[in-house]
């Protein structure tokens, strides 16, 4: 159990997808104007990253690695991510139309989110087993969601503050993001993998 906890802490906090690996910065700045939209996007991303990591692991293990097709890795993984997004959308449309109508707006954004591809490519570097790979993907996306929600909360407060005109909008957003990144650097001393 200790190895699972270390894996999760390492992926979510120490090597955070956004603040340590600088992936998914588009959605980090674009979908964090409200906490609720950040939660919606974070939850959708967590689901898609975890599901696509399972497909990517299987393809890497049984197709790309044995047949030395590593040069097809990126395009294969993009295909799996697009399929995972379509699967999620089709499933919710069929199983729960009301939820689909409420949440469906975030799903197309995920296809173009580089954090999803980045996490699945990191899995290949790690050479994990199936469950470790799935947990790593889940923890990475949990870290992504955590930072999205934290940043959205900060931006909601900053929006109410009296910010100098030159710093209003994206500039104060970037300053806030850099302070958040500094705070997350505190986790780097924990030594989790």
């Amino acid at each position: 159990m200790q190895d699972i906890i270390l894996l999760i802490v390492g992926a979510a906090l120490v090597n955070n997808v956004i603040l340590a690996r600088f992936l998914g910065l588009c959605s980090f700045m674009g979908v964090t104007t409200r906490v609720d939209t950040a939660i919606g996007m974070g939850a959708a991303c967590t689901f898609v990253i975890t599901v696509s990591s399972m497909g990517d692991w299987a393809l890497e293990r049984f197709l790309l690695e044995p047949y030395h097709l590593g040069y097809l890795r990126t395009v294969t993984f993009i295909l799996v991510i697009a399929a995972a997004v379509q699967f999620t959308e089709a499933t919710f449309r069929k199983f729960s139309p009301a939820l689909f109508k409420l949440l469906g707006i975030y799903l197309p954004l995920i296809t173009t989110n580089c954090a999803v591809l980045g996490v699945t490519l990191l899995l290949v570097e790690g050479k994990y087993g199936f469950m470790d790979s799935t947990l790593f993907a889940f923890a990475s996306s949990l870290g992504y969601s955590l930072v999205m929600v934290l940043f959205a909360g900060l931006r909601e407060r900053v929006a109410l503050a009296d910010v100098p005109r030159l710093f209003a909008g994206p500039p104060i957003g970037f300053i806030t993001a850099s302070l958040l990144a500094l705070a997350f650097m505190g986790f780097s001393g924990m030594g989790a993998k």
Binding site: G40, A43, F47, V51, R61, F95, K101, G104, P108, F130
Partner: protein, 167 residues
């Protein structure tokens, strides 16, 4: 969408997320509405070239019904709202539950010595069970009308500018 027509919970004292929808059809006492095409973030100034902008087929799929208590006409634009906590709970229900089921099933199978393939099979089974639970829960929420948007007001000039009210 029967629940959208009657038996709606009171949302007057809750924080609402607002959006603009266009009336596309009126059938008896029910109006069919289509959400206006906006970017998901609602804050991008390059919406004309945004690759993530939902297409018309997507908007048709997201049509919803609402009781025509305010004499809506086809083509009219109205502001609808969903309670903030509803959106939060819907996100966690839709995505959190299947993830929880599949991870618990996968870790349990691996701890029991199932190996990679055993864990993969257990994870997929957990995902299927989780989606079943989501279906059950969302049916209950739909029956109670919790997932339905509520009429707030007719769209004004401010709403018309960007499609999302930021007040």
């Amino acid at each position: 969408m029967a629940a959208a027509v009657s038996g709606l919970p009171d949302v007057s004292d809750r924080e609402l997320i607002e959006g603009v929808a266009r009336v596309v059809a009126v059938e008896g006492g029910v109006a069919w509405l289509e959400p206006e095409q906006t970017t998901a973030c609602g804050g991008c100034h390059a919406s004309a070239t945004c690759g993530a902008k939902p297409g018309s087929a997507r908007l048709v799929a997201r049509r919803f019904a609402m009781a025509n208590d305010h004499d809506f006409q086809v083509g009219e634009r109205i502001v609808v709202g969903v309670a903030e906590d509803t959106l939060r709970r819907a996100s966690l229900t839709a995505y959190g539950l299947p993830l929880a089921f599949m991870l618990v099933a996968g870790v349990t199978a691996q701890k029991l010595g199932g190996g990679d393939l055993g864990a993969a099979a257990a994870t997929l089974s957990g995902l299927a069970v989780g989606l079943g639970v989501v279906r059950f829960k969302s049916l209950r929420q739909t029956k109670r009308g919790e997932l339905a948007p509520h009429y707030l007001r007719r769209a004004s000039g401010h709403d018309a500018e960007c499609g999302v009210d930021r007040s």
